[in-house]
Symmetry: C2
DNA sequence: CGTCCTATTGACAGGCTTCAAGGAACGTGG
DNA sequence: CCACGTTCCTTGAAGCCTGTCAATAGGACG
């Protein structure tokens, strides 16, 4: 798996000033690659595993289940995302990982990654940063669930997805993107019922903010959508990190 | 500030196998102590700061504001908690820190803490673990906001607070605790309105699950409350961490 | 005793859920 | 190529949960 085709490594290349050695070593850990069917559990919740997962292609999601089957999706995992970073510390996670669309997933050995991070302080710093950003996103999601109305939640989710995708793909100003989410999944992420998601989408459409055809979302009015959502991209920390110049292997 | 009276250090002593040197060094960083009035902003959101905050006594909370003043509380900060761990990585946080009751707060210098963690791998591992636990709690809170009803949310919050307090205070089986939260704060944490919090509390009372007098919560039926909340304490990771035996300063 | 903050109540509206059923899209096999 | 099953989307009706507005009561405190 070469550097250029690994979107996770590519993203870190964009967001950080990690040197080639670090990136290469990381890419090297992404060798065990699987292709996984849509709507498939990759790693169930509450089960310990020795692998972390990087989604190279396709969309996945974290999920949590209540004992009566109610389901919540804390976050969608986009191409280039590390899906279960917490497992670096906690082998047994309390959320699961499932695919949304068909996915190409790399499994990184926990021990190997830990060793790499120990040997490469700059990379470690970057991983710490990734965790902090993930946490910031989790808190913003909390705000949505706690205080935003249904239209606001969906608008906010779309703004977030768009911003994250654009950052990863480095796509220009394109306001359209493939969005493989079903309304069921939107419901589990926004804390709404499927029916209400459906109706709320129609509201956003009728307001001229979005168009949502089969698996394809178009933001018709970015400003309007962001205003509707009270969206402020700061929590995504898309500016990246400069990691302190380390006395590392090579400059 | 001696070890024994610093609840943050005491908690790490309980939860981890950190040696005396690490704990002492950490306690030493907690020297700058302030007493802060109730309902006071300690560190506003969106502002960068060179200090992390440990709450030694009293309750505080993280908070986020929307542009129209809607408020959300992602987490309450209890005695012995590090309130803004993310600031270790992100100097400018997107949540603020405010007191709930009168608090004794220690301000730890970011640079000093970073240096300490760099020099003490075991301590660093523990801090990574703290972050992972914090994230687990954030996701469980998301689940509450997204999928639990009002009575379930409050029941879950009370179970969580009780479990966290008991872990910190190492209190026995006591089912009562001081709870300085106003219904306003409960509302901001649970994503409900004040009025509805009030009514929901009455429901929980009438079900014989809790008693809530002035600033004092009694859990009358722990099992019942946990069942009502679909509470599973796993996400608190109260078992702590054993950090790999490090070739550290002293055994 | 007045003031401020918090808790409590009532009335009413509306957002959102649930139940139920129909329609559209897509893949599969005959 | 069409019948068929499955999954997803859409719609309607009914009602509860929760929010908003407004006003009262209770405590703490100066």
């Amino acid at each position: 798996m070469r550097l250029s085709v690994n979107p996770f490594v590519a993203r870190l290349h964009h967001l950080t000033d990690l040197d080639g050695n670090s990136l290469f070593a990381l890419a090297h850990l992404c060798e065990r690659v699987r292709v996984i069917e849509p709507r498939t559990v990759v790693a169930p919740a509450g089960q310990s595993s020795e692998d972390l997962h990087v989604v190279l292609d396709g969309w996945a999601c974290q999920y949590k289940l209540m004992s009566d089957k109610r389901r919540h999706v804390p976050a969608f995992v986009l191409p280039g995302d590390l899906a279960d970073l917490d497992r670096l510390i906690l082998p047994k996670l309390d959320y699961g990982l499932a695919t949304v669309s068909a996915c190409t997933v790399a499994a990184l050995p926990r021990a190997g990654l830990q060793a790499l991070l120990k040997a490469d302080p700059a990379l470690r710093e970057v991983f710490d940063w990734l965790r902090a950003v993930e946490n910031a996103q989790a808190l913003e999601h909390q705000l949505s669930l706690g205080r935003r109305s249904a239209p606001e939640r969906l608008a906010h989710l779309f703004c977030t997805l768009h911003a994250r995708l654009r950052a990863t793909l480095d796509g220009g100003e394109d306001l359209r993107f493939e969005c493989p989410l079903t309304q069921d999944e939107l419901a589990d992420a926004t804390g709404l019922s499927v029916v209400h998601v459906n109706r709320t989408l129609q509201v956003l459409r009728s307001e001229g903010l979005i168009a949502l055809e089969t698996r394809r979302l178009t933001i018709l009015d970015w400003q309007g959508l962001a205003r509707r959502a009270d969206f402020d991209s700061a929590f995504l920390h898309a500016e990246g990190v400069r990691v302190a110049a380390q006395p590392s292997a090579s400059p």
